[in-house]
């Protein structure tokens, strides 16, 4: 049974082409994926991300619980609204999911996890939470709209009453504010995103989601589909769960070492394996690729290096660069000898580059 967000009819009325995404009927584009991509890089676009799973964790034991559950350290979170990007690992250090955790109070943290991994995430979190007496509450009655782009913040702020507008306007990156009793109900506005642009992700009660969407539309924010979301996040150098990492790799093999905190005295799931890899090195590395020749790098293509074969993880045509970009996982080792990709039997040379490929609208 395909699930629908409350905005499903709104997407259809806007001419969206709908596709199945992790069991959800979601808009892939509203006409042109590339135009929507540029709209977000140059102005402001919005995405229905209500399929993502909001989970509230409540109880006195929530901080000790998250110290064990997450590879990044919640000890970095002490200010209400502050957010942290992290992986949730199994005992072998494999990535169960990546998520954002928001600090609300010592008795309340909020997680936003992926849609496609919802069931296994909830099962894992619930099982892990039991010894800590932490209550795990999914919030399916909450919708979520991401508003992204260089003018996104001012357009959102323009819809709020003066005091709320001031609070949201002052939010630092990776921080959130709860707004009570706005014309769109109680909102949770976070200065986060998945596009490499500034903007907000807004958690809104389902009953107000359509009116918030329409108000944003009137304020000049254009709808953008999951297609543009994918090209934007890859340009921004952000991983996609299931494509760039899963249980078979550790954060170190997925270029997510920066999200791992080996802080002293914190026994988190997978730590032993990560420490061993830290000491002995990892067998595989994730790299960024740009192809100057014509064609598109795609998931599953074979990558050839001096140390053996790897494969393309996320790969796409970058609308901002006008050429193909990709993440690839290849054997560890120096790549100065060059890297080639097998595209339908043709070995095409590619450049190994640092990522993000694009930040704040500018090619890097």
């Amino acid at each position: 049974m395909t699930r629908k967000t409350i905005l499903n009819d709104t997407h259809r009325a806007l001419g969206a082409k709908m596709v199945d995404f992790g069991g959800w009927d979601m808009p892939i584009h509203y006409g042109s994926q590339i135009e929507e991509h540029h709209q977000v890089r140059r102005d402001a676009g919005m995405f229905d991300v209500s399929h993502m799973t909001v989970v509230d964790l409540r109880g006195a034991g929530v901080r000790p619980f998250l110290r064990q559950l997450l590879a990044n350290s919640v000890e970095k979170l002490h200010k209400p609204g502050k957010a942290l990007y992290t992986c949730m690992l199994d005992a072998q250090g494999g990535v169960i999911d990546d998520l954002i955790v928001y600090y609300q109070s010592e008795a309340w943290f909020r997680l936003v996890v992926n849609a496609a991994t919802r069931d296994k995430d909830l099962a894992w979190i619930t099982a892990q939470a039991a010894p800590f007496g932490v209550e795990v509450v999914e919030r399916p009655e909450l919708s979520m709209i991401a508003v992204q782009g260089p003018t996104a913040r001012e357009r959102v702020i323009g819809l709020l009453a003066a005091d709320d507008a001031a609070r949201v306007g002052k939010l630092g990156k990776f921080s959130a504010a709860g707004l009570a009793g706005t014309r769109f109900g109680d909102l949770f506005v976070a200065r986060t995103g998945y596009t490499g642009e500034d903007g907000y992700e807004i958690v809104v009660p389902e009953a107000h989601a359509v009116s918030l969407w329409n108000a944003l539309l009137e304020a000049g924010v254009k709808p953008a589909g999951l297609g543009a979301r994918d090209t934007l996040r890859l340009e921004a150098g952000m991983n996609l769960y299931g494509q760039d990492m899963d249980e078979t790799v550790t954060p170190y093999e997925a270029a997510l070492g920066w999200t791992v905190a080996l802080d002293e005295g914190r026994a988190f799931n997978g730590r032993e394996v990560l420490e061993r890899q830290q000491r002995d090195g990892v067998p595989r590395q994730m790299i960024g690729l740009v192809m100057d020749e014509k064609g598109v790098l795609r998931h599953g293509q074979k990558v050839l290096t001096a140390h053996g074969e790897g494969e393309i993880l996320s790969g796409t045509f970058s609308p901002t660069l006008g050429k193909a970009i990709a993440f690839a996982r290849v054997p560890a080792g120096d790549l100065a000898g060059g890297v080639r990709v097998d595209i339908r039997g043709r070995e095409v040379p590619v450049r190994v580059v640092k990522f993000p490929f694009v930040r704040d609208g500018v090619a890097l």
Binding site: H29, Q33, I34, G227, K294, F317
Partner: protein
């Protein structure tokens, strides 16, 4: 869904062919096909002088989403290719049956045109696909 011009013939795999006044055959992909592919970013065309064989892959259209082979509706020798697509592949999205044509062949077996789908039959095929 845009109107399908009456002078086109189709392959089930969504290529169209049109016999021009000089007897040559212009080939492209259908409006439905461009819609399925989404924004096109690259087109790989045969070279003028190449021979193509009906039913064989002879070009590639690549969108953000997927790469797709283009099959020749008829056999023949390529006499022209739409070089403008190299810089503006999105022309196919905008005008699949007009400016978005791919290449022209001098048909070696003109009777092959009779084996292709008429516009109504192609439209019916698309409708069946939708259900």
């Amino acid at each position: 869904m845009s109107e399908i011009p009456g002078d086109l013939k189709f392959l089930k795999s969504h290529e169209w062919a049109r016999v021009e006044g000089d007897g040559k055959v212009t080939i492209g992909i259908s409006d439905h096909a461009q819609g399925l592919l989404g924004d096109l970013v690259y087109v790989e065309l045969p070279a003028v002088g190449d021979t193509v064989e009906a039913g064989n892959a002879c070009a590639v259209v690549e969108s953000v989403k997927a790469a797709s082979d283009v099959y020749a509706p008829v056999s023949g020798t390529v006499t022209a290719v739409n070089a403008a697509l190299a810089d503006k592949p999105e022309t196919i999205n905008e005008d699949a049956y007009g400016e978005g044509w791919l290449f022209v062949v001098e048909a070696s077996e003109p009777d092959q045109m009779n084996e292709l789908l008429a516009p109504d039959d192609y439209a019916e095929l698309l409708e069946d696909d939708d259900h």
